[in-house]
């Protein structure tokens, strides 16, 4: 059985197993050393619980990370893994993915790792559409270096490095990824196990780069950054979960809806609009995805979760392998002929 039979084109070529797997199989023997209460634990548990459902051979899964708190992730996974250097995980994972179609390659990164020091690699990986699943843990702070503001921190953030408040305008990671031509972009909140698992599932199914932004709480240096999304009442007014093909409504009773507003989108009371005006999510529509990303504001007045964009286009690694395969089929690898070239001359013996 292949991953395609399982309905997972993103994993085609990766060998599967019929052996039953559990979350426990994915726990390594290493002691997890994140701070108590760190959102990373929740994400780790969600990933370890989710992976068995893919039915892949464990030895064909690789986690590659950069540097930062979240980048310790691979040590805790009983798969292959590389904890690389700051910001470079997408580059290393690209080399691995290009060389090995039989691997399911995951990148674990953070807001500093992916968006600051590694910003270049992130956008180019997304542009190339390398078949990688990129989990971006966004806690809006530098944790491992003890609390400096990050490229997703709000303006005016007071930290040890910015006692008078930070001056930088933050990135919206989903907007950035869409601008970088990402073929798949999703977002989830660490505490929402079901929502996170659903986005992970769709990311795994997707063939190509999948960027999943995960809002993750840092209890030490930025505690409560996402608390308004964790309070049931607040969350119901703020979180707009989108599902492909479904009208975008939210609130306890669906009392809010997303409607068009000029070139963008806005939130209205469902009661105030006609049903036809409620935007129906279409994950293949880039403009809609971008407009949705702009509905999410830094102050979390509204936060869109789910899968913003999910479209198919050729992946870099598949295409690179196809070029090599085509060349191999077209011309035998005759080293002697290559070395001789076209213009030779012979010096005869005495």
């Amino acid at each position: 059985m292949t991953a395609i039979d399982l309905g997972l084109p993103g994993l085609s070529g990766v060998p599967t197993t019929d052996e039953k797997q559990t979350a426990k199989d994915y726990k390594s023997d290493q002691e997890v050393r994140w701070c108590p209460g760190c959102g990373d634990y929740v994400v780790l548990n969600a990933v370890q619980s989710f992976l068995p459902s893919l039915g892949l051979k464990r030895e064909n899964i690789v986690f590659v990370s950069g540097i930062g708190c979240s980048s310790r992730f691979p040590y805790y996974m009983n798969t292959y893994g590389m904890h690389s250097i700051h910001g470079r995980a997408p580059a290393i994972a690209t080399g691995l993915a290009v060389a090995r179609p039989d691997l399911s390659v995951w990148v674990v990164t953070g807001d500093g790792d992916a968006l600051s020091i590694g910003g270049n690699h992130l956008i180019h990986t997304l542009r190339r559409n390398v078949n990688l699943k990129i989990l971006l843990f966004n806690n809006r702070i530098y944790g491992l270096t003890k609390g400096q503001y990050s490229p997703t921190s709000e303006e005016g953030k007071v930290t040890k490095s910015t006692p008078a408040g930070s001056l930088d305008h933050p990135f919206n990671p989903v907007s950035l990824a869409l601008g970088a031509e990402a073929s798949f972009v999703g977002r989830a909140v660490d505490s929402d196990r079901a929502g996170l698992t659903e986005v992970l599932r769709q990311a795994a199914e997707h063939r190509g780069s999948a960027l999943v932004e995960i809002y993750q709480n840092c209890p030490i240096f930025n505690d409560g950054a996402f608390d308004v999304l964790k309070d049931a009442d607040e969350a119901s007014r703020r979180i707009i979960n989108v599902v492909d093909g479904q009208p975008i409504k939210f609130g306890r009773e669906g009392e809010y809806a997303v409607v068009r507003d000029g070139f963008g989108l806005t939130v209205a009371k469902t009661a105030d609009v006609v049903e036809e005006d409620v935007v129906v999510h279409d994950a293949s529509d880039l403009n809609l995805a971008f407009a949705l990303s702009r509905l999410s504001t830094q102050d979390l007045e509204h936060t869109v979760t789910g899968v913003f964009r999910n479209t198919q286009r050729a992946t870099y690694d598949d295409s690179a392998r196809a070029q090599v395969a085509e060349a191999v089929a077209a011309k035998p690898a005759d080293l002697g002929a290559l070395l001789r070239g076209k213009d030779t001359w012979t010096v005869a013996g005495e």
């Binding site: 390594s28 290493q30 051979k57 464990r58 030895e59 064909n60 690789v62 590659v64 540097i67 691979p74 040590y75 996974m77 009983n78 798969t79 292959y80 893994g81 590389m82 904890h83 690389s84 250097i85 470079r88 997408p90 580059a91 290393i92 994972a93 690209t94 080399g95 691995l96 993915a97 290009v98 060389a99 090995r100 039989d102 691997l103 270049n120 690699h121 180019h124 690179a320 392998r321 070029q323 090599v324 060349a327 191999v328 077209a330 011309k331 035998p332 690898a333 080293l335 002697g336 290559l338 070395l339 001789r340 070239g341 213009d343 030779t344 001359w345 012979t346 010096v347 005869a348 013996g349």
Partner: protein
Amino acid sequence: MSTETRKLDRVVIRFAGDSGDGMQLTGDRFTSEAAAFGNDLATQPNFPAEIRAPQGTLPGVSSFQLHFADYDILTPGDRPDVLVAMNPAALKANIGDLPKGGILIVNTDEFTKRNLTKVGYDANPLEDASLEPFQVHKVAMATLTIGAVESTGLGKKDAERAKNMFALGLLSWMYHRPTEGTERFLREKFAKKPDIAEANVLAFRAGWNYGETTESFAVTFEVAPAKLDTGTYRQITGNTALAYGIVAAGQQSGLPVVLGTYPITPASDILHELSRHKNFGITTVQAEDEIAGIGIALGASYGGSLGVTSTSGPGVALKSETIGLAVMTELPLIVIDVQRGGPSTGLPTKTEQADLLQAMFGRNGESPVPIVAPQSPADCFDAALDAARIALTYRTPVLLLSDGAIANGSEPWLIPDVSTLPDLSVEFATDPEGFEPYSRDPETLARPWAVPGTPGLQHRIGGLEKQHGSGNISYDPANHDFMVRLRQQKIDGIEVPDVVVDDPSGEARVLVVGWGSSFGPIGAAARRVRKLGMQVAHAHLRHLNPFPKNLGDVLSRYERVIVPEMNLGQLALLLRAKYLVDAVSYTKVQGLPFKAEELQNVLADVIKGVPA
């Protein structure tokens, strides 16, 4: 009038013109003619970093020097015997190198008042006495070319562009070169533009006929084929030979090759060449930057491919952190540095050997990396295979230090028999029984190469310090001390051949030690001083880290050790530090290779300075 034919054993020709004049192509073609004729040869292109510097200016001068001979030569020649100057700028920039009595062929059409002023000539040097020391041939090459190609109906501008082929035709006549190859080449090169092809062929023939029919050239010259070792030869540049070495390393190891790289002068041709040979299982990725280039190569190596990255000095600086990661994760990786003038952007198209200490020490922490340096264009092939051997056997990044002189220079290459190439096959770890990712091969100290996808060997690696054996993260002080020393010991223990000393008389008391592309000039200088009745020994280092085991002994056998380098004494520093030898450093950083003549004088002075 019949022209006299004089026999010569060697000739150096320099074609110089504007960077838009096609001087590199002209030089390449003359080189191919010399190769086809069976001469030994060596070439040295010299061109500006700007693609098209302002026309007719000194910074825009591009030149190509070719040395061909009837014996085995070592360098592209110190000074031209013949200078072809296509414009005033080319004359001004190169005339200083032409010895008195040398032949100067000038394209007079470009010697207009405006062009002369542009390069600061107050008077036309063709009309005053300044060129009297030379044998000057004034030829209106553009006018003659336009006339010769009239039948093609090309406009004046296009027609004039073929004047470089006129120059080539004239020189081909002067030196009795075969012409079929050039005509065939031109027809192939311009196959899609038959009128341009025709114009170039006509211009080429016109140049030849000009020599034959005018009476201005009283003498032509013959350089007989060289007596080289028997076998089949081709002409090859260093960058091509290096790329072929990588192809061969893939074939001999049975591994796919993944080149992750970013374009940079003078290394880009390695990317171009490897991209043409995907049928050998080679994947080339032009990454977003230097760091991604090496990251992709390392990721591929982690997956069981032969990862390669190619760059120049500035790129090595950017790759340093990833080289460190490769040292820590102990994965095979080839880092090609085609050195150029530095620091910073420096002299992108000129040569230098100033990255040795960067290669040796340019990383944080104790981060030993083996260093291999080719000594000539053709030698790049063997050096690349050797770098692959070390990377694969010892699971380590290897720095391959080429430079601009050998990258773009060319020479005849005795094509190796593929069946004699070394076996580079590797064994991946497969046995889960007692597997530890940081266990060691007792002989090489290499750790197992356990690639993802191998059942039961799941493990995590990374840049944090490893526990010896298990590879788990370890902050234990004693373990760190142990691991730092172990990584050093692994590199120190790499097997490299003994350095061979060239000392024909066995009586030399002075040893000259070089590395890399200075092999030619040092070797030629040594020959010259020996001809003068003095003795000198020459040792040339391919392996800069670790040094050959016999090097200390070799150094101690001589009363004086002199180390010429195109830097400020980097190898000399290493030799002094490691062997406590009072090595004399001779250095030059002009972006150009040493001249045999200058090294001859340096060596002679040192030899004379040794007390009897």
